[in-house]
Symmetry: C2
Subunit: 388 residues, 2 copies
């Protein structure tokens, strides 16, 4: 019986999807035109529309003049998507900040917001903050959440920590009563750039995020790579010095320890320039304080050398550099470009752009929306070899 209920539920969602897709694609329509457009029976269509209206996902708008002869009774009104319904929520639980993004039924991001998080907050506490932030934004902006379909969550770090995933997911699941999906937030930023930003319509992308930490995400053949333990994309933990200092990941000489913001602040200090944090560092680099530009350019060159290896191995058509440091533009992009140009199979020149990310700090929260927009988890199987 369970199974039959599931099947009916799925059928209903398919029909709902057909109605919503028609309204997204064609704009407001009368119920009559919707039956023609979707091929659903009047009875089914009317039931689906009532429920969508009840949930606030669609609204009734003015009468339609479709040039048809009108029968007796009131003129047919049109049904349209409710632009104020929040259908998808993306949450980014960052190291020191919580960000949320909300997409409407047309799959446009209609609101983003940010709040501070204590550095020692665990995922449950962060999730509670995120829930309050989502509710506040929706109240302030008149966005209804009764049509909410799914919540995506981005977490710092590698994804093979089921406890952290669970803690983050269960609060949001309970609060919103919807499907929740979780992924690494640098990888989600890659997905956001592919969906709306600098990697739009690119099929093969290396994305790196350079800030306090160094993370990334890879897209190959149009698909975000996950890895065997959900930890693909950790560009920051490529060792650039196997005999170097111990990294928090347990390795030695990791790129992140060499070029993350703390390392840059330290390098600037050793050249006699005291800086207090990321903003200070960026400001000094923008005003071309020579000691600071030297530190940043050297770090960009190191990043470029690692990315040259990534490019040689993954063969992308586009490298997207995001994170705070990418806002320095040519100062960091040019050394990266030249390292890749000199080291990644230069004898076989291929089309390859190195570009800054487009989306800014809300990228991961947007990527969490992109995550639930897709038919993810489980991924549809790729072509597999037949058994011999």
């Amino acid at each position: 019986m369970e199974k039959r209920a599931d099947a009916l539920q799925r059928l209903r969602r398919t029909h709902e999807g057909a109605v919503l897709a028609a309204l997204r694609g064609e704009g407001p329509m009368s119920r009559t035109r919707l039956t023609e457009h979707t091929g659903l029976s009047r009875t089914t269509l009317f039931a689906i529309i009532s429920e969508l209206m009840e949930r606030g996902a669609v609204i009734e708008s003015g009468a339609e003049d479709d040039g048809r002869p009108r029968g007796r009774g009131r003129p047919a009104t049109r049904v349209s998507l409710n632009p104020d319904a929040g259908l998808l929520v993306g949450v980014d639980l960052g190291r020191r900040r919580i960000r949320v993004a909300i997409a409407n039924i047309a799959r446009q991001v209609v609101a983003t917001a940010v709040d501070d998080s204590a550095p020692d907050a665990d995922e449950s506490e962060q999730a509670d903050l995120a829930i309050a932030l989502v509710r506040k934004v929706c109240d302030d902006r008149g966005i209804g959440l009764r049509a909410l379909e799914a919540v995506g969550i981005g977490l710092v770090g590698v994804m093979d920590a089921p406890d952290r995933r669970r803690r983050a997911a269960e609060r949001l699941e309970a609060a919103f009563g919807t499907r929740v999906e979780v992924d690494n937030n640098a990888r989600l930023a890659a997905l956001a750039e592919q969906t709306w930003g600098a990697a739009r319509s690119a099929e093969d992308v290396v994305y790196v995020r350079w800030a306090v930490g160094v993370g990334g995400g890879f897209i190959s053949g149009g698909r975000l790579l996950r890895g065997g333990h959900g930890a693909s994309g950790e560009v920051g933990h490529v060792s650039v010095d196997p005999a170097g200092p111990r990294c928090h990941c347990g390795g030695r000489g990791c790129l992140e320890g060499r070029i993350g913001v703390p390392a840059l602040l330290e390098a600037a200090a050793s050249r006699g320039v005291r800086l207090t944090g990321t903003d200070d560092l960026l400001e000094a680099a923008r005003s071309r304080t020579p000691e600071v530009t030297a530190v940043v350019v050297e770090a960009a060159r190191t990043l470029g050398t690692v990315l040259a290896g990534t490019v040689a191995q993954l063969d992308p058509r586009r490298v997207v550099v995001g994170g705070d440091l990418a806002t320095l533009g040519g100062l960091v992009l040019d050394p990266i470009r030249s390292a890749i140009g000199e080291l990644a199979l230069p004898g076989k020149p291929r089309a390859l752009d190195v570009v800054p990310a487009d989306l800014g700090p809300a990228a991961s929260a947007m990527g969490a929306i992109a995550l639930v927009l897709k038919e993810q988890d489980p991924l549809p199987p790729g072509p597999r070899p037949a058994d011999p």
Copy 2:
């Protein structure tokens, strides 16, 4: 009209596929049972079987005793796959050797063969050698090629060279009159290991081939990664010394230049041990000539360091090491394991095996069969984000 003919052709192939799949899965069957099993009409089924017999793909075998009451006339004979029909051919056009593999209709590799190729032969000349080699093996072993469905070809080097692809493909297409597909031969070896060998049933695999050259192939989420220009997997062209000697790829300090067999021979010579080639090197390493083991272990450590970066970025569950050097077993695998263990996110221990390849030197030719076994080129689209 062309289109209608195409559609009929496709339909026919689908029906043919259903008949062959039934015979593969269930063994020999009477025509009557085949109609029941496939749901095809008698007329269609009989026509398809005649054609398959004419092409030598299926044969008539003894009468079936299926316990049913027999009508008048001769007893029903059974139809079975012809074990001697070669349906798929894989060709590996290596640096100095041509290898071919032939799979029968049950998708088992039934024959492999090897021939020398002049080092300066171009792809057309190599393709001619391969054609002659395929014909000779089939003659010798009584394998018919009239049911041939497809030919896969493996080439050395990166795949963004349309001329090389074309030269190799057009000879084989003309000779055999079938669909031909081309890919890089290290990547094909990865595919073969996933299909029949050490990476069987693994979804996330880093494969590296260590011999005269150093190449590789990556499988992520069950799919062979291609890259934006068909050049994914070039582990050998990760720079281990950006200020190092120029590589034939145009880069500097590439891994291949540091650990490929020529570099190992040179390193051994500088320690006073003169060796003439790969076999000589392997022999000296196997008999534990101290200078040679030192050279090999150091090279394995260097490879391990590069692979640690690949593992940190791609997060495989299995690393497969193939090529001549992998036949040295623990001597090369242990330094690779320890470098990966020390450098690839050791603080987040994850299930990861480092294992030798299973398939030996015919792996690429077998991989060329795996290539055409799959529904490749174009790959079915993965889940893509909806347009915002």
